[in-house]
């Protein structure tokens, strides 16, 4: 699509009048670095932010001030009394918070090359899934800042909209959804990164002050450093995972750093599993190799860090299947998520 068509939709975007698919397509265009659209968005957004001044003014109820100030000082007192470790656990309402929360990481598995390709290929072949998008993005920091607010909103809307997804237009919007989701998540991730880094710094200071006596903290810090290093890697590949079959509402992604052969895996809306089952992530080269088992948590999310991926250049797909607890050397159960590089 030509830039002119995007430019037309910027004012509608600024007042929130675009349809979901249109928003996402525009956001991708913005992320591609179109400076004209960025400048237009900035001005239209500023104009939209003035609209409330055209309303007849109302004062907030007097008692609200006291209520808010009281809630603020309580919350502040609580975080002070528990120190830095409490901050890390504060719900940030995003997948990154899940990822960074203590205990959020599962130990990774080694790779087992002795796995048959046939089973997976048959499964894949049987599934009529549409084209998946591969996107490798290096995002400029200043672009991020400009669309960040909009994208954070978008992230929430996507979550809400998912529930109302109807069959119509699904074919067409599937591709766009993925693009929007993917960029939205990456944006959110980058936005939270700054906060989290600050918290890590605080934790590190805290640990240093305590004479380094706490090995749990050290372990947690090492995990976080690893995640943050991956997030900072200059050209992380983003692989969208789309829900299949019984897990249509599920989604996820893999952030994949070829240079270190590490990846972050995150999935949401995963159907709950009986206690004797688990999710297993597969990297598919010329044959599937296990990238670890990831039991879903109570929020139907699953996540983890994968280390020592096999030759990244040879990976063509990632898939997530349901397997008996502990995992299997090759996929045996239904495939719930699939993503193509």
């Amino acid at each position: 699509m030509a830039h002119e068509q995007f430019e037309e939709s910027v004012p509608l975007y600024a007042v929130g009048a675009l349809e979901k698919a249109e928003r996402q397509v525009l956001e991708v265009h913005l992320l591609s670095g179109c400076t004209a659209c960025h400048a237009a968005l900035k001005s239209y957004s500023a104009v939209a932010g003035l609209l409330p001044y055209g309303l007849p003014p109302h004062l907030a109820p007097v008692e609200l001030r006291a209520g808010i100030m009281e809630a603020r000082s309580k919350s502040h007192a609580r975080s002070e009394s528990h120190g830095a470790a409490v901050k890390i656990q504060e719900p940030a309402g995003s997948w990154l918070a899940d990822m960074l929360s203590p205990g959020g990481l599962r130990p990774s598995w080694g790779f087992n090359p002795a796995v048959s390709l046939a089973a997976v290929l048959i499964a894949i072949g049987a599934i009529a899934y549409s084209a998946y998008l591969r996107s490798q993005m290096t995002i400029e920091q200043d672009q991020i800042l400009q669309v960040q607010t909009a994208l954070q909103e978008e992230h929430q809307r996507i979550a809400a909209a998912q529930q109302h997804l109807t069959a119509q237009h699904q074919e067409l919007s599937a591709l766009r959804d993925q693009v929007g989701f993917q960029t939205g998540e990456v944006e959110q991730l980058k936005a939270e990164l700054a906060d989290r880094e600050e918290q890590v710094d605080q934790l590190q200071t805290h640990v240093a002050q305590q004479g380094g006596g706490n090995s749990e903290l050290h372990k947690a810090l090492a995990q976080r450093d690893e995640i943050l290093a991956l997030l900072r890697a200059p050209d992380v590949t983003v692989v969208s995972l789309a829900g299949l079959l019984d897990a249509k509402a599920a989604g996820g992604f893999i952030l994949f750093d070829r240079s270190t052969q590490k990846a972050l895996f995150y999935a949401f809306n995963m159907p709950a599993l009986p206690p004797d089952k688990t999710y297993q992530l597969w990297a598919i080269l010329d044959k599937p190799v296990s990238a670890g088992v990831f039991p879903p948590d109570h929020g139907q999310k699953t996540r983890g860090m994968v280390r020592g991926l096999p030759d990244p250049a040879k990976i063509t797909k990632f898939a997530v299947s349901v397997e008996p607890s502990g995992g299997r050397p090759q996929p045996t159960g239904a495939i719930y998520l699939m993503g193509q590089l």
Partner: protein, 201 residues
């Protein structure tokens, strides 16, 4: 620790980034000043969107809680602190409108049919009296007044009620293209008329 601008509460039209930063870092006095400067415009917005004083107050609770949790994420390059707070309030307000609609409640409320309008009129003068804010209010009211009613209506349905252009077209029984054009023309006109008010100085 001494804070800059600690002596006088600014109006929402001139909240310095440093005040938001201090408030987000836990400075109680800065937080109070931020509240005093911005609560009126945010409450005005919340009330217009939700049409209910209690719910609007509830929304403001959420917004200010987010300020002290996430205020560090505010970036001056993206706009003024007030613009950030307005965006936050609108976005949380739309979340509420959606969940209300999902529960089968009224999908939207306009102040015309809400008792809140009269009730709030008796609240008396407040921070909105401050000069910069009053000037801004006058300018925006005038600029909106100069728009054709149809453009104004389309903008309001999108901005305050969170409707997409398709939903607006349905509601008004107008062709889609017409609605898009109204919004675009309206925004273009406002951008020109209000340039001195939104352009970074």
């Amino acid at each position: 620790m001494a804070q800059p601008e600690a002596s006088q509460t600014p109006s929402s039209a001139s909240v310095p980034s440093s005040l938001l930063a201090a408030a987000a870092k836990g400075d109680q006095q800065a937080f109070a000043q931020l509240y005093d400067a911005t609560s009126s415009i945010l409450f005005t917005l919340a009330l217009r969107m939700l049409g209910d004083r209690d719910e609007a107050a509830d929304l403001l609770q959420d917004v200010y809680a987010e300020v002290w949790r996430k205020g560090a994420r505010y970036d001056p390059a993206r706009g003024t602190p007030t613009a950030w707070l307005i965006t936050l309030t609108r976005s949380r307000g739309i979340d509420r409108l959606r969940s209300r609609a999902a529960k089968g409640g009224r999908a939207s409320v306009s102040l015309e049919d809400s008792p809140a309008a009269e009730q709030a009129a008796g609240d008396g003068p407040g921070p909105l009296d401050q000069y910069a804010e009053r000037e801004l209010s006058t300018a925006v009211t005038k600029a909106l007044g100069e728009l054709p009613d149809a453009q104004q209506q389309a903008l309001e349905l999108a901005y305050y009620e969170g409707l997409s252009h398709t939903e607006i077209a349905d509601r008004l029984k107008q062709p889609l293209g017409t609605i898009k054009t109204r919004i675009k023309l309206g925004m273009d006109k406002l951008r020109t008329t209000l340039q001195s008010h939104w352009e970074p100085r």
